[in-house]
Assembly symmetry: C2
Homo-oligomer: 113 residues x 2
């Protein structure tokens, strides 16, 4: 995801998967990305998971209200429930305000300019 105009919000979701339900989990994760992208104030999402099952998903939002709204979405709440019960051994969720950002190329330009 490229740079956005600050300030905006990032939700950092760090999580450790259980070994359960790989297929169902992946289907849910794909559906949640699709659903999030349909919500007002959505700016983007990024995700990485290593072989040890530890993953970080960061979703980006225009406002805190948009995050609250996404959290309260009925289909998302169902996924959250299953996540707690089956898919996550542990997680931490952080709501953060993005104060500044730069990309690899922009920084080079700034440095050379």
């Amino acid at each position: 995801m490229t740079d956005l105009q600050t300030p905006y919000y990032a939700v950092i979701f760090s999580n450790q998967r259980t070994s359960e339900g790989e297929g169902a989990y992946n289907a849910m994760a794909a559906r949640m990305e699709e659903l999030a992208a349909s919500m007002p104030g959505y700016l983007g999402i990024e995700s990485a998971r290593g072989e040890d099952g530890f993953g970080i998903t960061v979703s980006y939002w225009e406002t805190k209200e948009a995050i609250k709204n996404w959290k309260a979405n009925a289909e998302h709440r169902e996924a959250q429930k299953r996540g707690r019960a089956e898919w996550y051994k542990d997680f931490t969720l952080r709501i953060t305000k993005v104060e500044c950002s730069y990309g690899m190329l922009e920084r080079q330009e700034k440095k050379n300019g």
Copy 2:
């Protein structure tokens, strides 16, 4: 990493690896984690990378000054240079303020309490 008292700061480093220098990259990454942990204001670090080479590293800091100080560290600057030249196809770095957070267990307690 467990919950911390907010507010504090999170640096979200989203990056796409090139296919170059796996061994040297991993050694640098391990050394940078060790070095970061020795810096004032360091709170923790989390990292995940998938098979596609896309990775997210989030480091946590007490203040923005601590982040500035870490960014300016001489050994870290050398690593940043090599990162741009060899190891990263692309990256975005975001400095964010953590406004609230909850873990899997805390949330359950709150819900039941």
